[in-house]
Amino acid sequence: MPEKLTRRQIAWRIVQDIEEGNYVNLGIGQPELVADLMPANREVIIHSENGILGLGPKPTPEEADEDLINAGKKMATLVPGGAFFHHADSFAMIRGGHIDVAVLGAFQVAENGDLANWTTGGGDLLPAVGGAMDLAAGAKKVFAMMDHNAKDGAPKIVKRCSYPLTGQRCVTTVYTEIAVIDIRPEGCIVREKFADMPLEALQARTGAQLTLANDWRPLAIPDVG
């Protein structure tokens, strides 16, 4: 039995927490997988911050249109019922609390829901924020999709973020390759983990205090590659 989910499996897990009819924004990178794992029979409306509601799958070569891209600047399609609008309207949707779920990547999430995902503060990369702060401030729910630990093993779920913040107290749930953790006023509540991974082992890889939910469930391993 594998001891961790693939990124596609994490994306599948996130899909299970998105409700029919939700308006969802997917961050650039890993969160884009959520669209790939969304079953065709679900009506979930994807918002793309560059001015699209009803973002569809990748285009076939015949469908490709150079004027139709997603927020990650990749070629995209529009589903029936989709709409285009300008940037101020797009961010009114975000800031105005109309987006049900934003799925974002994260460098760090704090136990109070603080999110750091736009810069490590170092000079190695150009500072770039895009729409991340607007999504953190405005989406009804913010799902953080991330590795449980950094490449050097450091916990990414922490007591307080050491990286510059994207938003305060905004993350509602963290989805990693080994757990689903809700961020609640009372702390970090483990909703799902592998059945054979003791809470202590999960805790050892986490920088904030974890509490196992009374109704916790074993993390499922879907057959999605």
């Binding site: 793309s48 911050e49 560059n50 001015g51 699209i52 249109d65 150079e66 004027d67 139709l68 891209i69 600047k73 995209a76 529009l78 285009f84 609008f85 300008h86 940037h87 101020a88 797009s90 961010f91 975000i94 800031r95 603080d114 990369l125 150009l126 500072p127 770039a128 924020v129 895009g130 729409g131 991340a132 702060m133 607007d134 953190a136 401030a137 405005g138 510059p164 913040l165 994207t166 938003g167 305060q168």
Partner: protein, 236 residues
């Protein structure tokens, strides 16, 4: 006996014959809104005309900093841009900007994307300033006024006016009514509103009355000059 008034042959016509003519009066030191997101909707041909024109010491407002070597990148590379106001300078190929930035030869004001859009909209709409929850508690609100409104911390942001806007649209009539194509709309409509002089390159100019009034996205009042560019250049 009074003669009948001469029939005016000059009607409102914002179409300009050439790109170079359309940007001829942009002075050194101008603040310029440039439309586009990720290469889509970016008015490269107008940017190239501005490059040929020679204006320098410019402040540019765009979501990114341009990829590749032409258009905005050409202006930046030639040292003609003093400052860039944007949300996402980490474009797929930001080499030209990155070199200038690391050499301390260009100033960068980083603005959250929605705040950037709203500051542009506010400029066009005559709004003096506004409070937004975006960026509270982050480095991008440092030094700015914070108020608690509706029980929530909000940061004061000011409108972002421009002397000129360079925008790409799909179709226009001679009054300057505009339609856009798909995600190329992005910053176009709000930048058209926010500049003293708005210059638009369009793929097609159609007869007055040919655009469906229900489908016009930018009404002509926000547009000053229209240039027909049937086959626009692309960043890559």
């Amino acid at each position: 006996m009074r003669s009948a008034p001469a029939k005016s042959k000059i009607m409102v016509n914002k179409e300009i014959a050439s790109l170079d003519e359309a940007v001829a009066d942009i002075p050194n030191g101008a603040t310029i809104h440039v439309g586009g997101f990720g290469g889509v909707g970016i008015p490269i041909d107008l940017c190239e005309a501005l490059y040929r024109q020679g204006a320098t010491n410019l402040t540019l407002v765009n979501n990114g900093v341009a990829s590749g070597k032409i258009g905005l990148a050409a202006l930046i590379g030639a040292g003609r841009v003093r400052k860039i106001i944007c949300s996402f300078p980490r474009t797929p190929d930001p080499e030209v900007f990155e070199k200038k930035y690391r050499a301390g030869e260009i100033e960068l004001e980083l603005v959250p994307q929605g705040t950037l859009a709203e500051r542009i909209r506010a400029a066009g709409a005559g709004v003096g300033a506004f409070y937004t929850p975006t960026s509270v508690g982050t480095p991008l609100s440092e030094g700015k006024e914070i108020r608690i409104l509706g029980g929530r911390e909000m940061v004061l942001e000011h409108p972002l006016h421009a002397d000129f806007a360079l925008v790409k649209a799909d179709r226009a009539d001679r009054w300057g009514n505009l339609t856009y194509r798909k995600s190329a709309r992005n910053f176009g409509p709000i930048m058209c509103m926010a500049a003293k002089t708005t210059i638009v390159q369009v793929r097609e100019v159609v007869a007055l009355g040919a655009l469906d009034p229900e489908a016009i996205i930018t009404p002509s009042i926000f547009v000053d000059r229209v240039v027909h560019v049937a086959n626009p250049m692309r960043e890559v």
